[in-house]
Subunit: 174 residues, 2 copies
Amino acid sequence: MRKLKYHVATTLDGFIARKDGSFDCFPTEGEHVADYLESLKSYDAVLMGRRTYEVGLRMDVTDPYPLLKSYVFSRTMKKSPNGRVGVVAENAMEVVRKLKEEEGADIYLCGGAELATELFKEGLIDEVILKVNPLLLGSGIPLLHDVGRHIDLELIGSQVYSSGVVLLSYRVKK
Amino acid sequence: MRKLKYHVATTLDGFIARKDGSFDCFPTEGEHVADYLESLKSYDAVLMGRRTYEVGLRMDVTDPYPLLKSYVFSRTMKKSPNGRVGVVAENAMEVVRKLKEEEGADIYLCGGAELATELFKEGLIDEVILKVNPLLLGSGIPLLHDVGRHIDLELIGSQVYSSGVVLLSYRVKK
């Protein structure tokens, strides 16, 4: 079965963006960025919440991952502004379950917190890969919301970049 | 001048405890614990917020760091239950500034979020040392609250333990 990996940049205090969804406080250059772009080749599909998708839309980016099959999860978005990007409005967890059962490479969950929380609740996330940036925000959009229980992880990889970004990879214990 | 170091255990998503202040989800055995106990020798004073102190009090621990000069910061606590533990009720930031100017070893800030936030606001924290535990809580007591700006850090050390705990040390950029 294909793995679903929640792979995001965070601050040291666990925020994936400021409250308004912006994340220009994260460095966009350096070795960790090259590694991230390389890692995208290990996926063939990407899932994102509507708010995460809209961060790109505000910059007129309607297809943020042109090399991946793309799915936006939203109960309110009626129509995708780009024919290549699908909208999942109903039975979201069932859709993800089926996607995981299909043949193919791993699936990339790029954000945000609400979608990740639902997926954690259903036990559908297999790995968490965090690019921990050397800064504290104190408030913002968290990595996830309350799942109702704690989630145990197993550290399976770590890398420290000269930029101070630390890449930490975990398997979700089930 | 003595450095003030915010040195705490967190979850991967940035919580230092559950909402009720408990943190028994963090492993209390392993090499990282031995290293932590060794690191306490580099301090000669410890600062903590009232809520953090009360976590120990609930287990009848009135002097959690018997080898360090201990200060509890509280606007409501009238009297310390232990003669060795001082209560700082007023001019908290001024007290910390003076402590930092005294001769001695570095100062340990062991928690919690409210005190850390005030100290970050005043630019009084010099280093952040996190023991990142391999688990997600989704909610709880955060590392800090909103400081009103973001805080840039410089990674100055990292260590990965076989338990999956990752120790990350940062200098606060000023």
